[in-house]
């Protein structure tokens, strides 16, 4: 993915200025509809949705802070269920583990259901380079794959495309003559997929949750593709971030209720799967061999830092949908696997040493707080963005300060009343001066599209004095 630093201006702002009306329309309308549905459903179904979000946040936070207890417990439970467990410290290790598991069974054909963790480690590229034919089975991810594109949203990867564009790529890739009827598109994809499911050697999935107590793996989809991905193949590999744990089955009731409503504005997805291990005797089908690969890839470092709340994230995408900046800029502007508010925090943190190349992301927010209000696990995203801004400044990440007026002089003025009052008087020159012609930022950045109000520095103080004298 392109993480180059453009030469001037904030990259996300430049990206937003350049996106087409078509992309803007797709992203804006779809995210606005989803946000409305989410809000209406939560408000209708629960007396106090905020309270529920707080509980969910506390359960997740507790799990994270006791990961040293829950992770070994999960391993034990999974193994008891006949699942083999692996740990990958980073993307490279995860790719190699998955690669060798596939090689051990001679698996050449893989069906994969949507997983952000596999996106994060760029698994598809790795598998393709190693001669494995891996097909994305989620319709959105499939379209991204055939187009050689990148997802621009964590739940609806093709939110930036409309159906005409999708119909065109189907036509181009030999999936039938142009037809932009959504049903036809889905039917064609299904037909294409069916053969792939039947002939696949392995199915790769992520997991929405892993229950420490029971070793249950939970997958939530609307297309049933994860179920089909595990129907014929003899090998199931699940790549799971270590933050996906929840303590017990009981906790799932809180999370499933919130996740689905927050993600798609539905009460329940069409398919919710609870996987308790490989194919057991007596079951008609299912993989003979099941592996869970726990992925760290920077997560334990995040856990040790002051932004650890971000690991509560259950990847619902509600913060993207509600975010006014995301709606203007769309997901690709964030130049990373995780876009929007969650991405603005998580991506620079996951980047580790490459933090400076993404240090601009936490700045791409008016700090309006809509994400915080939307988040089902109550992550204080604006606070975390602010902490990362502070970090960017302290570490002199160039993208952290670009385009932002320097604050040293301001602080000098604002901590010395005499200077401050002087500035209030001196500022009056603005009224007699064609400020709109001043080509110097930040003033020019303001006046390019907005007028400045009349400067009236000191007027209130004058009034106040006169009033006191009376």
């Amino acid at each position: 993915m392109n993480t180059e630093i453009p030469s001037h201006g904030q990259p996300i702002d430049r990206f937003a200025a350049a996106i087409s009306g078509e992309v803007y329309e797709s992203v804006h309308s779809s995210s606005a509809i989803k946000s409305d549905k989410r809000q209406a459903l939560l408000a209708g179904d629960y007396p106090n949705p905020k309270h529920l979000r707080e509980i969910a946040g506390q359960i997740k936070q507790h799990t994270l802070e006791s990961l040293d207890k829950y992770l070994p417990q999960a391993v034990e439970s999974l193994e008891r269920n006949g699942v083999r467990v692996h740990f990958a410290a980073n993307g490279e290790e995860a790719r190699q583990i998955i690669g060798s598991l596939l090689a051990a069974r001679g698996a050449k054909k893989v069906v994969k259901s949507k997983s952000m963790a596999t996106e994060e480690i760029h698994l598809n590229d790795y598998l393709a380079a190693n001669g494995v034919d891996c097909i994305e089975t989620d319709l959105g991810e499939f379209i991204v794959q055939i187009d050689g594109d990148h997802p621009s949203h964590i739940v609806t990867p093709i939110i930036h495309k409309n159906r005409r564009q999708i119909a065109k790529s189907f036509e181009k890739h030999g999936l039938g003559a142009y037809n932009d009827d959504p049903e036809t598109i889905t039917r064609r994809a299904r037909k294409f997929m069916r053969d792939k499911y039947m002939s696949a050697d392995a199915g790769i999935t992520g997991a929405n949750f892993v229950v420490a107590e029971t070793g249950r793996l939970v997958l939530v989809t609307n297309e049933g593709n994860s179920r089909f991905s595990l129907a014929a193949p003899k090998l199931h590999i699940a790549l799971v971030g270590i933050e996906k744990l929840v303590p017990s089955d009981r906790d799932l009731s809180v999370f499933l209720n919130l996740l689905v409503r927050s993600a798609t504005g539905q009460q329940f997805t069409a398919y919710t799967e609870f996987i308790s291990g490989p194919h057991a005797s007596g079951q008609p089908s299912g993989p003979e061999e099941m592996h869970v690969v726990f992925l760290d890839n920077g997560r334990s470092d995040i856990l040790a830092g002051d932004c650890r709340e971000i690991l509560r994230c259950i990847r619902c995408g509600a913060c993207l949908n509600i975010c006014p900046v995301y709606r203007q800029a769309s997901g690709h502007a964030y130049r990373s696997v995780y876009p929007g508010p969650i991405g603005a925090v998580l991506s620079p943190l996951l980047a580790g040493e490459k933090f400076p190349s993404l240090a601009d992301l936490p700045k791409a927010s008016s700090l309006c707080g809509a994400c915080n209000d939307a988040c089902p696990v109550n992550i204080p995203i604006p606070d975390l963005l602010l902490r990362l801004r502070d970090k960017g400044k302290r570490e002199h990440a160039p993208l952290a300060s670009r385009g932002v007026p320097p604050m040293g002089g301001f602080a000098g003025l604002a901590s010395q009343p005499a200077l401050w009052k002087g500035a209030l008087l001196a500022g009056h020159v603005m009224n007699y001066f064609p400020v709109e012609w001043v080509p110097v930022p930040p003033l020019s950045k303001w006046t390019a599209q907005r007028t400045l109000p009349e400067f009236r520095g000191g007027e209130f103080r004058k009034w106040w004095k006169q009033r006191r004298q009376r």
Binding site: G369, M407, P417
Partner: protein
């Protein structure tokens, strides 16, 4: 606290705040040494600079009286942002105390003073923009309650009401394209319902939205909620 924006541009908002509070029987002080809440530096990630400004503020506002601010944004900086900026500092308790004394003015009138209804009239259709920094406080509700209780006043709902106007302080100059587009979208949604007046509890949002609309050559009339309340009292002959 007048806020730096009112000190430099919107003196009438600070004045209206004083007049309304005095009308309600409060004794108002204006510590002359005051400047700003430090938010510009804080949001830019320059926390040492923000702390410098905040320390000055703590010094200026010694005492135990409530600190009233005609801005949800500055108020939130004092009761929330400042705590983040000082989380590892030894003088956090002093900053915390200032935060606990701070009220956004409309919230103070309704929740602090218990005033639930306003006297006077305002025969206008108003669009109330609920500024983002009112989230999590009672201010937006308080503003709607008071404005809505004016005789003849109508508060119009509009599309995507809870979305940010795009100002965001330094965000407006470091992300000028996104900021302006957010503002234009907000203006479009507001204009759709044809209000006589756009009202908010933060001059920063209004400065941005009016600035954009003037540049378009189609200015939207704007007013701070506290001005609307003061004007109603004046029209009623309760205030001179």
């Amino acid at each position: 606290m007048a806020t730096c924006l009112c000190d430099a541009f919107f003196d009438d908002v600070a004045r209206a705040t004083v007049e309304v509070l005095e009308y309600l029987g409060c004794e108002v002080e204006f510590p002359e040494g005051q400047t700003c809440c430090g938010q510009p530096a804080f949001n830019s990630g320059d926390w040492p600079a923000a702390r410098k400004v905040l320390r000055h503020l703590v010094d200026t506002f010694k005492g135990g009286e409530p600190i009233i601010v005609p801005s949800g944004s500055c108020a939130a900086m004092l009761y929330h942002g400042s705590l983040l900026a000082f989380e590892h500092e030894t003088d956090l308790p002093e900053v915390e105390k200032v935060g606990q004394r701070t009220w956004e003015v409309l919230d103070f009138i309704v929740s602090g003073l218990g005033v639930k209804q306003w006297e006077g009239a305002c025969e206008k259709k108003m669009a109330f923009h609920s500024s983002c920094h009112l989230r999590g406080s009672n201010s937006a509700e308080a503003a709607r309650l008071l404005l809505g209780s004016l005789r003849g006043a109508e508060i119009l709902p509009f599309k995507e009401q809870e979305q940010c106007c795009g100002f965001g302080g330094t965000f407006s100059v470091s992300f000028p394209a996104i900021s302006a587009d957010m503002g234009l979208l907000k203006l479009q949604n507001i204009r759709e319902v044809k209000p006589d007046l756009l009202v908010a509890a933060d001059m920063s949002c209004l400065m941005h939205l009016r600035g954009l609309s003037e540049k378009q050559g189609n200015p939207v009339p704007v007013r701070h909620a506290i001005q609307v309340l003061r004007d109603a009292l004046v029209a009623e002959g309760k205030l001179r």
